[in-house]
């Protein structure tokens, strides 16, 4: 039978019918559908047992405990730690993004050297360390020819770095400017053994002046935990929170009461309140300068005067005084909304309320928190470090009043972006050798002659000593939860190695050993681990079991050490002299008529961390739009300057300017413009680069009379519509 057309078609028909009785069609369709579920460019999940590693966060100075969840050996999610007194299970948006930052595109992959054309090229660690050694050798023994800027206030790294400098006869060791500097200028004369802390947990009234307590100020997550505990869900608050500050920022929004005061005028209001407290007969028996304080306040800060300067009614001021007087355990928290740049006047004025209300070291008030012992030989004492004013130092150099160091070591800090009047300040690095110890390619690293990448905090040993704004002493360790992903080396090890080659003896061979010694040194103090009893509970009668067992073993695995011992304070000074000299002038500044309320939020990163990828969706449509960011002002202020919502506006300060769009926000005081720090990055990665403008550029540094401190929290600007 020949295969003609007809029989072929019949054959095909038979085949088609036959196929219907096989799985070919159905299986192919089904499998194709499954095939479309797994495109090769979409990552598949990797399985592995779930485990946790307890560590301490280093992304901002608040020192929260983090529980890093791992799947197999991969860190996947950062969670809070209920056993850590500084976070108690909570977490901030920056800490929540901690694990993903391991793989930030801005990570520095290995040591880099700046080339003649300004680009960075990867080099070996041998070459990088040899270059550092060479530069330090040149500077050795020439006094202050080497300077160091540390962006980490709480790490024992500061001992290693300051020890190195001391042995090279330099005392030019600086922290990035913060409020402990202001406190040191105000109270350093009598408070040498520690810092002042705020016992929020035991207070029944918390009044924050300026300090953005519930977002970024001090021990932010602990503050929020204290606030949360005092506001049980669905019940009446047990502790009232009052925010005195320039805007309804996070703290102003959620506090039980917001009192609007322009930045820089918190101190005036505080003394206005002090006036009422003094009138009611309150005294500070232990203050040596009480009488001069009293007469200064009573003569100058009369209700009429305070009302005129702050714009609040006399009744409002009196009401705040009544609130404080009626409370059993009130605590007043001084600060600036950006945790930097406030003056001695503001700090001492607000702090004096605490001294008036109750003696130092009373539960629910302020406590002296002793410094922890230092272990690195010749390391600078913490009280000395706190008093070093980086901004004045930089100003003196740029003004030619002091010699420029030939070598700058910058550790986990980003001064090129994050100093006030940043553009002008960063000129200090011209014609010097700048070495940056940084995890990320920030603006300072981008400018550095040598980059010595540090491991990310999830890859290294580090520690956190009592952070600024804490209410109790604490010590906890940061430990590696993953092997370094890149060719990085702990800065401590690099410095110790270089010191040895310089013939200097810091007493340790590795940074891990330094931490071990630090932990051992804690035994000098009568401390305990916070597994069962929290430090603030001790103040109301709980008795902890003293720390026992192998201290390093416990602490290196996440235990938190604390002590309830507080140094005896026989006498205090209210800084009456500084108050009278540093009082802000009454005349208005017509050249820069608008007060600038800078904002820092953990949602925008921190001083040394640009906004993480996961925090970007937190920004609303009127915070960042494409590459443009927004500044906020109320409708009256906007109208006065001919501005409308969404207009482009130029902010001009004496040292620089920047451009933003206008967001009308009625939670900002009159004649105040609120603007976020942390934008306008030029290095970093595509997630943060080029977004918004750098408000640090328009901050204005002035020298406060009396204290000689550089101050910029009360910066002023000129605003105008930009075209």
């Amino acid at each position: 039978m020949a295969l003609d057309r007809r029989s072929f078609l019949t054959f095909v028909a038979g085949g088609a019918v036959g196929t219907l009785f096989t799985p070919v069609i159905w299986k192919s369709i089904d499998d194709t559908a499954i095939w479309t579920q797994n495109w090769s460019w979409i990552p598949r999940l990797e399985h592995g047992p779930k485990a946790y590693a307890a560590t301490t966060c280093k992304l901002c100075p608040a020192g929260c405990g983090l529980n890093i969840r791992t799947a197999g050996d991969r860190p996947v999610v950062a969670e809070g730690r209920t056993d850590h007194p500084l976070s108690q299970g909570g977490i901030c948006p920056l800490g929540a993004a901690a694990v993903q930052m391991l793989y930030s595109p801005a990570r520095i992959k290995g040591p880099m050297k700046k080339q003649a054309d300004g680009t960075h090229q990867l080099v070996s660690w041998e070459e990088a360390e040899a270059l550092l050694l060479e530069k330090l050798n040149e500077a050795k023994g020439q006094g202050g020819n080497v300077a160091c800027i540390s962006g980490d206030e709480n790490s024992t790294m500061n001992e290693v770095l300051s020890g190195l400098l001391a042995q090279m006869d330099s005392n030019r060791f600086f922290l990035m400017p913060g409020e402990s500097l202001t406190a040191s200028k105000a109270f350093g004369s009598w408070l040498k053994q520690g810092v002042l802390g705020y016992d929020l947990e035991n207070a029944d009234l918390v009044m924050a002046f300026g300090a953005d307590l519930l977002d970024s100020w001090g021990t932010a997550v602990r503050n929020k935990k204290a606030f949360g505990a005092a506001h049980p869900i669905g019940e009446q608050a047990t502790t009232e929170y009052v925010y005195v500050g320039p805007m309804q920022n996070t703290t102003g929004a959620v506090a039980d009461k917001w009192v609007s005061v322009a930045p820089g005028l918190e101190g005036v209001l505080a003394l206005g309140i002090a006036y009422h407290l003094l009138q009611s007969g309150m005294i500070v028996p232990e203050a040596l300068d009480f009488s001069s304080y009293r007469s200064f306040v009573l003569s100058r800060y009369t209700p009429e005067y305070v009302s005129k300067v702050t714009g609040l009614s006399s009744e409002q001021v009196a009401e705040l005084a009544v609130k404080l007087r009626r409370a059993n355990r009130p605590v007043v928290v001084p600060g600036s909304a950006i945790s930097q740049g406030n003056g001695v006047f503001s700090l001492a004025a607000v702090m004096s309320l605490n001294f008036l209300l109750h003696p130092v070291n009373s539960p629910g008030g302020i406590f002296v928190l002793p410094d922890l012992p230092t272990v690195v030989s010749e390391a600078m004492e913490p009280s000395i470090i706190r008093g070093n004013d980086l901004v004045s130092f930089v100003q003196k150099i740029t003004a030619g009043k002091t010699d420029r160091p030939s070598v700058f070591l910058v550790y986990e800090a980003n001064p090129v972006h994050g100093l006030p009047q940043a553009e002008a300040m960063s000129k200090v690095f011209d014609d010097t050798f700048l070495a940056s110890f940084s995890t990320f390619y920030d603006e300072t690293a981008a400018r550095a002659d040598l980059i010595l990448p540090t491991p990310y905090f999830l890859e290294r040993w580090d520690d956190v000593q009592t952070p600024h704004g804490a209410g109790f002493v604490s010590y906890s360790v940061t430990r590696p939860v993953i092997k370094p992903l890149f060719d990085v080396k702990p800065a401590g090890d690099v410095v110790l190695g270089v010191a040895e080659k310089l013939g200097l003896d810091l007493g340790f061979s590795s940074f891990e050993k330094v931490l071990e010694a630090k932990t051992a040194a804690l035994a000098e103090m009568d401390g305990f681990l916070t597994d069962k009893v929290q430090p603030w509970q001790v103040r109301t009668g709980a008795s902890p079991a003293p720390a026992a067992g192998n201290q390093w073993r416990n602490i290196s695995r996440g235990a938190v050490w604390t002590t309830a011992v507080t140094p005896f304070v026989p006498a205090v000074l209210l800084a009456a002299r500084e108050l009278s000299q540093a009082a802000p002038p009454d005349v208005d500044d017509w050249a820069y008529p608008v007060r600038l309320a800078s904002i820092t939020s953990r949602a925008h990163g921190s001083r040394h961390i640009a906004i993480p990828p996961f925090c970007l969706p937190l920004l609303g449509e009127e915070e960042l739009q494409g590459k443009t960011f927004y500044v906020r002002m109320n409708s009256t202020t906007a109208r006065n300057y001919g501005l409308k919502a969404n207009d482009r506006v130029k902010l001009v300060g004496p040292g620089g300017e920047c451009v933003a769009r206008v967001r009308i926000f009625e939670g900002v005081g009159l004649n105040v413009v609120a603007a976020p720090l942390g934008f306008g990055h030029t290095a970093w990665d595509e997630f943060s680069r080029g977004k918004g403008d750098n408000i640090y550029n328009v901050l204005t540094v002035r020298t406060e009379p009396g204290s000689d401190l550089s101050v910029w929290a009360d910066s002023r600007v000129r605003i105008a519509k930009a075209y």
Binding site: G228, I233, V254, L485, P613, G626, G669
Partner: protein, 257 residues
């Protein structure tokens, strides 16, 4: 489909205290990490950013100095009568599991986006683009939530995988997986909240805190008058906040004031 009218013995629910929420956004970040949501370079392009949980800022609309703000975190409301379910042509989303969580199965979704149009809470998101993680960051994906390709809709599931894990833990420990204690199962956002503004539990169980809280005179739900019967409650002592939970006319008062 009448399945979604099924009554449940367990209804997982949230009560969010808006007087405690600082709007910090830790919950939003924790949500992204927990649910394998890819970061986007320009998150101000709201077609690209996925915010299963989104914190809104509310204003009392008054001028300075009488102004007040509140923050309102908006997860999926897990409605008792969800609008998204009946419009789904392929049953990719459904409300049929004990616990009352509205499901969303990305492998089944055909991307028609009817549910997005139907949801009055804007709680659903469409993958206009394939998710892209910066190089290496895909190593931080948890094994608990599948990645979604472009072309499908996704939304908050109250960290449903944590519910499954809590049930498994109960089973292995010999407890009844249908009688979880308060705290056995907690979504990531609730766990990380630094002020403890979110309570979570079984709304039907009188031993769970949310049961009482949801009956508070200060409690309200979003757009309650639509009849969606959400399993997410909000608390505020401020009347203006409660009024913003629905389209309240000027002459009307909010219930329970």
């Amino acid at each position: 489909m009448v399945l979604y009218l099924k009554e449940f013995k367990i209804k997982w629910g949230m009560v969010i205290d808006l007087d405690k929420c600082t709007g910090c956004g830790a919950c939003m970040v924790a949500c992204q990490a927990e649910n394998n949501i890819a970061p986007v370079v320009d998150a101000s392009d709201k077609r690209r950013s996925m915010t299963w949980l989104l914190v809104y800022q509310l204003s009392n609309q008054k001028l300075y100095p009488d102004h007040d703000v509140a923050y309102l975190p908006r997860p999926c409301q897990q409605c008792g009568h969800p609008n998204c379910v009946p419009v789904c042509p392929v049953i990719a989303t459904d409300k049929n599991e004990e616990g009352g969580i509205v499901s969303q199965v990305n492998a089944r979704c055909i991307g028609c986006r009817y549910c997005i149009a139907a949801c009055p809470y804007h709680a659903r998101y469409f993958n206009w683009h394939d998710p892209v993680w910066p190089e290496g960051m895909e190593k931080t994906l948890t094994p608990d939530v599948s990645t979604r390709p472009r072309g499908v809709v996704e939304k908050c599931l109250f960290c449903h995988h944590r519910y499954m894990q809590a049930r498994d833990k109960a089973r292995v420990e010999g407890r009844d997986p249908n009688a979880l204690a308060e705290g056995d199962y907690i979504p990531a956002c609730v766990e990380v909240c630094p002020t403890g503004a979110i309570a979570f539990g079984d709304l039907m169980n009188p031993n769970h805190k949310v049961h009482q809280l949801s009956k508070s005179p200060h409690a309200f739900r979003l757009l309650e008058r639509l009849g969606t019967d959400p399993q997410v409650y909000y608390l505020s002592r401020r009347e203006w906040v409660r009024r913003q939970g629905d389209n309240i006319l000027e002459h009307e008062t909010v219930e329970g004031v």
